[in-house]
Amino acid sequence: MSEEPNHTQLAVIGGGPGGYAAAFLAADLGLQVVLIDPELNPGGVCLYRGCIPSKALLHVAKVLTESREATRWGIEFPEPKVTLEKLRAWKEGVVQRLTGGLGQLSKQRRVRYLRGEASFVDARNLKIKKPGGSEEQLGFHNTIVATGSRPAAVPGISLASPRILDSTTALEIQDIPKTMLVVGGGYIGLELGTVYATLGTQVSVVEMMPGLLPGVDRDLVTPLAKRLEGLFRSVMLNTKVGEMQEQKDGVRVKFVGHELAAPEGVFEKVLIAVGRKPNAQVPGLEKTKVELDQRGFIKVDLQRRTTEPSVFAVGDVAGEPMLAHKATHEGRVAVEAIAGHKVAFEPRAIPAVVYTDPEIAWCGLTEEQAKQEKRPVKVVRFPWAASGRALTLDRPDGVTKLIIDPETESVLGVGVTGSGAGELIAEGVLAVEMAASAMDIALSIHPHPTLSETVMEAAEVFFGNATDLYRPKK
């Protein structure tokens, strides 16, 4: 039976990067907070089934790749032996350490962590079903819905089989299949495809759009696409999956498209990575005035308040881009708004990183977007072949580009492809957020020899005087 009804100033539903960041800040601001999530500790998809485990595996993939490439430098290793149990245990260890840490942080901040599934009774009350089956009613002054997202299915094709993986099951690495088809050439498919291919699986990717990573500037994608040609068995563009059938030795997949390399194929495993769907179907949400938009996201304003004044929503459930760091920032904005501060979620730049090899990262305005908006911009590029640091890493396959306002010369966007691009993009975010000009970047001394110099030299390209790149005068 239900316990004594209780009440809190803020109830946060969902313990992912949006939810726990919100709960922690709220506690820091002196609010009484309850954080609700079905898992043992906070963390959400990002820590349990997303960013963190995939990055652990991608790090392993990188080490494997480098050990193989070392032959070029006169170092030869025998073919490595992969012990899956140990690999899984290490990955799980990372996850547990991080999520356990978040549990600790909750306690230290006196955030009440309530394990269970929340449903709305009305716009002021929740009911939480706990793992043991008992229920608790919780009144709140404000609530933040941070329920995240889940992998999307391919419309029209449903096949329940252990051979069909989504990002969650793929991260478990049950085995290393001989062949795998990755449906979807977006970042999740390419990252996981990279992991499996490096571990020895023959990976094929099918993507319905004419290029990998649709929406990303093509010049950023090209170096990756070239490298993947060697890593993957095949990349089928302009191709859709028409039909899937399970048979003894695998899944038979029929392809639809104009220029098919093969009309069908049999794959031991198929990974569906066609995007994610918001988890907006919180039970009882219909008892509030919360509204969804046509794509299923919860509608929110600049403070992340929904159409129900006591309810806020942050993270994947509140709109694109579905990225952990965007959720965290939104969570903090929502809490500050609840605490009565005049705040708004109005970033100039939200960075995105694809952790493939090479990595791709960008923030702010992209070249493609500028084209669509017919906004005049000046784009400058610095190829990594001219970077000393890139050559010492034997990785000249990269480019750093700046998208610059031709009138004010301020940096509107930054894009990087190359080893470690994900780390480099932070400088780009700072530049865009601070409205730095190309001159500001060109005049800031960057350490030598580092990859970060490519950002400075790209800015120098804007003025036609990059040290390590000669461009004949027009």
Binding site: P155, V343, R348, A435
Partner: protein, 458 residues
């Protein structure tokens, strides 16, 4: 079947408007009467409601564009098809009212009663400001990719002012719209000091805000003293009120008065009046004044200029379109006579008669009322000895004409009966000095006194 939604009649014979805002995006489900566009016509801003229910397949217009009545605005997948797609993936779609069968022309609701757009809608629905989102949207969302790349996120992200996050936060705390602050840094970068200075200026001059709506002052309860009746302002009245407030609060104006001896001109008008009538016009003082002013503007170009305060520049216009205030039963309208410097007085009289006729019959198009560099307002037909017109900003001067009357004038040692025409010139003192105004008005008066001056030097 897709339905085409064209811009309906907007009433009061408005034929076009500037598209201020598209309130929906591709993929949205719209309901009948839901506002889809915000349109600014010459006299008011109106929200254009959708006549149909359905999912938007394509938006054919862009913000900032001029949109004409009958122009294709949206393609909407209506009825069963749009609804079926919607139901499949969205629980909220089932709550929506059933589809209207096809395009229906609905009457424009008055803006006063049009449903306000929910402030909560735009951000979640339209995507996040900033760079990466739209690209990522495609990465993540297969369904939108299956339709058309970028279609779901086609809405342009809001451009943010060049200011650091801490400065933007300060602006929010001070209640300052960062987009209104002009930055003193390189490339217009906004610093903390700029925000504070802006906030200070707002406090010290609360009224002087360009384009502001009517300042709403607290009103007493008039019914304490007797019966009152409340009426909604007509669009024309509202726009006039807004524009006058804007002009009055932005332009430091001065009025210069003068009188022109039009005894000779009156004789000429009588003698040649027939010609104008035959051509279909009327040889009025205003028609003559149009030609005189056009010539004066060529000699005194700063009277046909505008001030770009943001850039500290003066814009000199090399065309001489002149607006003429016309009193109609709907209020004040200002049709513009094109190239007044290239037409003779008879031609101008004909055009003026047509323009006035169109204004009174609600036939004026938006284009007929824009592009003026100077305005003439003649109240002489009604009476009065003088008045101070308000400069029709961003123009910098306006000529007021009152009723001519016979006056004793001391000429060559004796008093003579002369017909004197009172003139008043209000001008923007930021650009025009008093002496220039006196010279300009004197030139106009002399040209009216000695019509020979026109062909001679005009």
């Amino acid at each position: 079947m897709p339905t085409e939604f064209r811009l309906p009649e907007l009433g009061e014979n408005i034929e076009a408007g500037d598209l201020l805002k598209v309130l929906v995006s591709v993929g949205d489900i719209i309901n009948p009467d839901q506002p889809v566009l915000e349109l600014e016509t010459d006299k008011a801003t109106v929200e254009v409601p959708s006549p149909v229910y359905g999912r938007i397949r394509e938006i054919h217009v862009k913000e900032g564009e001029k949109v004409k009545v009958g122009q294709l605005i949206l393609t909407v997948e209506d009825g069963a098809q749009g609804l079926a797609v919607a139901r499949e993936e969205k629980p909220e779609a089932s709550r929506v009212a059933p589809a209207a069968p096809g395009p229906v022309l609905v009457e424009m609701p008055r803006p006063e009663v049009a449903p306000p757009v929910s402030a909560a809608t735009p951000i979640g629905a339209l995507g996040v400001p900033g760079g990466a989102p739209s690209a990522l949207g495609e990465l993540f969302d297969l369904e939108s990719a299956y339709v058309k790349p970028g279609s779901a996120q086609a809405v342009q992200p809001r451009q943010l002012a060049p200011a650091a996050p801490s400065v933007r936060r300060l602006a929010r705390e001070l209640g300052v719209d960062i987009n209104h602050v002009s930055g003193t840094g390189p490339g217009g970068r906004i610093f903390e000091a700029d925000v504070k200075a802006h906030a200070k200026s707002l406090i010290s001059q609360p009224v002087a805000r360009a384009g502001a709506a009517l300042p709403a002052a607290a009103l007493p309860d008039f019914t304490r003293w007797g019966d009152v009746e409340r009426q909604a302002m007509s669009n024309v009245r509202r726009k006039t009120a807004e524009h006058m407030s804007y002009a009055w609060s932005t332009v430091p104006q001065v009025t210069q008065y003068d009188k022109a001896d039009v005894t000779t001109l009156e004789e000429l008008r009588k003698r040649h009046g027939k010609r104008a009538e035959e051509a279909g016009g009327k040889l009025t003082v205003t028609a003559v004044a149009l030609r005189v002013v056009a010539s004066a503007l060529k000699i005194f170009p700063q009277f046909a200029a505008s001030i770009d305060a943001g850039r500290n520049e003066i814009i000199y216009k090399k065309y001489f379109h002149i607006g003429v205030a016309v009193d109609t039963d709907r209020g004040l309208l200002v049709p513009v006579i094109r190239d007044a410097d290239k037409k003779n007085i008879v031609e101008l009289s004909v055009e003026l008669a047509h323009a006035a006729e169109k204004a009174r019959n609600k036939k004026l198009a938006l284009e007929d009322m824009e592009g003026g560099v100077f305005t003439i307002t003649n109240l002489g037909g009604i009476g009065g000895t003088a008045f101070s017109p308000i400069v029709n900003a961003p123009e910098v001067a306006i000529l007021g004409i009152s009723r001519a009357s016979l006056e004793p004038v001391f000429v060559n040692g004796t008093f003579q009966s002369r017909k004197m025409l009172p003139l008043s010139l209000s001008y923007d003192h930021r650009l025009i000095d008093g002496a220039d105004a006196a010279r300009f008005l004197r030139w106009v008066a002399e040209a009216l006194e000695q019509p020979f001056l026109l062909p001679l030097v005009g």
